[in-house]
């Protein structure tokens, strides 16, 4: 096998004119470009709050374009694909500017490597961070092909134009295929200037485009974590302590070892405290196939030391959060005099909102194949953060990072779960012990009981209205265990970046406004779940705004628009970046755009139309990940039976690369939001998760899914992410619609109508 393109760059040939695009020479020839997108958009922040790698270490390309002499184009993408269409969207941007024929494009997944810049796929940032430079890379490739043709024909380059995989000499109509020009183009210098297309010339950007993996997916050839089968591989299932922070005190493996197909039983050392990315430890049964490993695990006899969190109980914990938000917290954003304004208010109103722990439950549970040899370690896994994975694996094995290779498979859904490599560390440990490639398999129960949960939360909102029914005071207290507490001890409340997800970022035009965070102790692993704390903040803020509208006796849409206030840029962040780690000037927080989606969604939903008794429309709008979304839900309630008939969703995500992908992400996010609004509920009893599979942790099925209409705002603002922002408004829109239909308020998820 020839060297992969990414190996051609460190120290390898190449002429650099631009700081972020270089060429390289390859055996087999053709035109190869390495592109570094690492610094675009003022850098990017990982959901962990860590910084992405910049160019300080020298040139580190993370996207590669290889035009072969055959005319085939390979585009190497270093972001993880988990259904958000990133492999398709990023390749489409390059192919468009390059004027490449889409049918000749093949997308190759890059392994985890520090040279690839920040590969952490999360925070809805892939398109946002890569768009401009990928366009330029495509334009550079086209320019080089035009130049190569011009030289061959001895005509001015300005007379040559790349068009759908060939260069045309405009005066004569003579053509040369891209493949024929690839060699010559590959020997040219990278041009200083390459002219980008006008938006009206886009071939793929802005058009619906099928996913590049669609064929593989529909014939069963797509490879996910558990589908990789290196020779000699064995299968492992692990018994983990049911309580985080506990460990096995002793175990008896005799019975397990007698089971047919069971090969070995391997102990995995206990997790550290707090566990961070580390494996949870436990006892692994290694077998000839998955079924034998599971049967062997069932036969283990283990005595657990449950550790300090075995007292964690959901009901008692809820009471502690309730008590916390009834006391003043730490002010994280404070404007005006909230206490004075509340005292002076004509009317005041307060409400408390509860959201339980939630599990990711991606259809593909965590799975990983690892092969540890004397030379190093090779890993195949559905990971969102291949570089983090590489670093922690190298740390555990105590080998240099370059001895660890992480092949990123397709991710069968991830939603934040697969940014934690704990399951990879398990496979690596067992492979090291047994000296063979090992696949670690998680059952659904393993997945639901050993997740990094979305934080359980309690929020209290309080507001004052003056006698003209305008909101003069806004107080929002939020208490939930922090993600950071999974990684470091001594953290008793969320840091600014978790509050910047929908709490301190509240867009309302209220003169006296304070956001406070209140203490919440930590008892289980907490992680990022699709839109993170925007889930609970979006629910509470969206529902409370609707409560205030009712209190003011006003139409919720008019009231919400007044609350958002006139179009303006909100800027209360010190420094150059906003809550999502992007440059505030490039991506201003513009309430005009939030108003825009409210107007679009309500217009399309026919807001204000008369409805039969028991039916209602509910509205919610939320800004997150630099994208603006508003949703209108239409529901009916008959007795205790809730039906969601239709959701209209307006989204402003700047310039749209792939409208069908945006639509698909909104549809998916709405179903995800409905699942958490209607069903999601992880509860703890004696430190153990009480749920285990789709019977007690249900997700929406086909019949529950309403009509969904997605309306995309036409915009030429820089493109922003769409993977997460469709989730937060769903629960509030549905809750508000239930109020419109019945007069009943929903202040707790999942929504329960019986007994409300």
């Amino acid at each position: 096998m020839s060297r992969p393109v990414w190996d051609l760059f460190p120290g390898g040939g190449g002429v650099t004119r631009r700081s972020f695009i270089r060429t390289a020479a390859a055996a087999g020839g053709g035109l190869i470009l390495g592109v570094s997108t690492a610094c675009e958009g003022g850098g990017s922040r990982t959901p962990a709050g860590g910084r992405s790698v910049g160019l300080e270490g020298g040139f580190s390309p993370n996207v590669f374009v290889h035009l072969h002499p055959t005319g085939d184009v390979e585009i190497v993408v270093a972001r993880s694909e988990m259904g958000q269409g990133v492999r398709t969207s990023l390749a489409a941007v390059v192919a468009d500017e390059m004027e490449a024929d889409w049918s000749r494009i093949r997308v190759v997944q890059a392994p985890g490597h520090p040279d690839f810049g920040d590969q952490n796929t999360g925070g809805s940032q892939s398109v946002r961070n890569h768009f401009q430079r990928l366009r330029e890379a495509g334009a550079v490739a086209r320019r080089m092909l035009e130049e190569a043709a011009a030289r061959q024909w001895e005509v001015p380059a300005a007379e040559c134009a790349g068009r759908n995989h060939e260069v045309v000499h405009l005066p004569t109509g003579r053509t040369a295929a891209y493949g024929e020009l690839a060699e010559a183009a590959g020997r040219l210098q990278v041009p200083e200037n390459a002219v980008l297309k006008g938006a009206d010339q886009f071939r793929y950007i802005g058009r619906p485009l099928g996913g590049v993996d669609n064929l593989d997916i529909t014939v069963g050839a797509a490879l996910f974590g558990a589908d990789v089968r290196p020779p000699g591989m064995v299968y492992a299932a692990i018994a983990r302590c049911p309580v985080v922070g506990g460990t096995h005190r002793s175990y008896d493996a005799q019975e397990a070892l007698r089971r047919p197909g069971v090969l070995r039983v391997v102990e995995i050392p206990p997790a550290e405290s707090p566990p961070g990315y580390g494996s949870l430890g436990g006892v692994a049964v290694v077998a000839e196939n998955t079924w034998a490993a599971l049967a062997g695990r069932d036969a283990l006899r283990i005595e657990w030391d449950l550790g300090p969190h075995a007292t964690h109980e959901s009901s008692a914990y809820r009471a502690s959060l309730e008590a916390a938000v009834r006391e003043p917290g730490r002010p994280d954003r404070s404007e005006g005099d909230v206490d004075g304004a509340l005292r002076a208010a004509d009317r005041t109103h307060s409400a408390e909102y509860y959201v339980p722990y939630l599990a990711h439950a991606s259809m593909e549970p965590p799975a990983c194949v690892a092969s540890v040899t004397r030379e190093g370690c090779e890993i195949w896994a559905p990971v969102q953060a291949p570089q983090t994975t590489r670093r922690v694996v190298a740390g555990m094995l105590d080998v240099p990072e370059d001895r660890v290779t992480v092949h990123v498979t397709l991710l069968g859904g991830a939603f934040g779960r697969k940014s934690k490599p704990d399951f990879v560390l398990e496979a690596v440990w067992i492979s090291k012990e047994v000296g063979r490639p090992v696949q670690v398999f998680w059952t659904r129960e393993d997945d639901i009981r050993h997740d990094f949960y979305h934080a359980v939360s309690m929020q209290r909102l309080e507001a004052g209205l003056d006698d003209s029914k305008r909101v003069t005071a806004w107080l929002h207290r939020s208490a939930f265990p922090s993600i950071s507490a999974t990684f470091a001890s001594g953290i008793d409340r969320p840091p600014a970046d978790e509050l910047g997800l929908g709490n301190t970022t509240v867009p309302f035009d209220v003169p006296n406004l304070r956001c406070e965070s209140c203490p919440a102790s930590w008892h289980t692993r907490i992680g990022w779940l699709r839109s993170v704390s925007n889930i609970h903040h979006g629910f509470a803020v969206g529902a409370f705004a609707d409560e205030l509208a009712a209190l003011a006796g006003r139409d919720p849409r008019e009231f919400l628009l007044d609350l958002i206030g006139p179009a303006r840029v909100i800027d209360y962040w010190a420094g150059e970046e906003n809550a999502y780690g992007v440059d505030k000037r490039a991506y201003p927080y513009d309430t005009g755009r939030l108003r825009g989606v409210v107007e679009l969604a309500t217009g399309e939903a026919g807001w204000g139309r008369s409805l039969p008794a028991g039916r209602g429309l509910g509205l919610a709008a939320h800004y997150c990940f630099v994208t603006y979304v508003a949703q209108v839900a239409e529901v009916s309630v008959t007795g205790d039976r809730l039906r969601i008939h239709r959701i209209d969703c307006a989204v402003d995500c700047g310039l749209v690369v792939n409208p069908d992908q945006v639509k698909a992400q909104m549809e998916g996010a709405i179903v995800f939001g409905l699942s958490l609004a209607l069903h999601g509920n992880i509860t703890m009893r004696a430190g153990r998760v009480e749920q285990g599979n789709f019977d007690d942790y249900p997700i929406c099925a086909l019949r529950e899914v309403p009509e969904i209409h997605v309306h995309i705002v036409n915009s030429d603002a820089p493109p922003t992410g769409v993977g997460e922002p469709g989730v937060p408004p769903v629960a509030a829109a549905v809750a508000n619609a239930i109020f419109a239909a019945t007069g009943r308020r929903i202040r707790e998820l999942p929504i329960r109508l019986a007994g409300v």
Partner: protein
Amino acid sequence: MAKVRLTVNGAARELDVPPEMPILWVLRDVLNLTGTKYGCGTALCGSCTVLRDGEAIRACVEPISSAEGTALVTIEGLSANGTHPLQVAWRDLNVAQCGYCQPGQIMNAAALLARNPSPTDEEIDAAQQANLCRCGTYLRIREAIRVAAGEGSTGRGGDS
């Protein structure tokens, strides 16, 4: 132990496996047909759906002994080169997101269309109700089944 005889995607097989081993693990770990997916292991999600003598079954709970003398068809064997009308419709409508549940969705729908070539929406919903998709591609799944049955609109889901 007695061998299990059956055909898998048209090829005759004699398998030397424990009779109680679920079909899912025989397919994946013994025959290396990894297109069939695990999602729950307890017949709750449909990811593992395959056809046994044309009927959609949950391979995670059906022992291989139940397939003795039958014909199993998995996503890999549904058609040559992905040309079954469902597979074509799935691509045309860009149904898949992560893709993990889709082999099970397609196999379940294939059994539906085989016994009912023109299902109503209600019949589609009833048939696919227990095939879960965490990515939430349900509306496109329903539409793709309509299209494959010759009843729906064609073209990308983006054109609404």
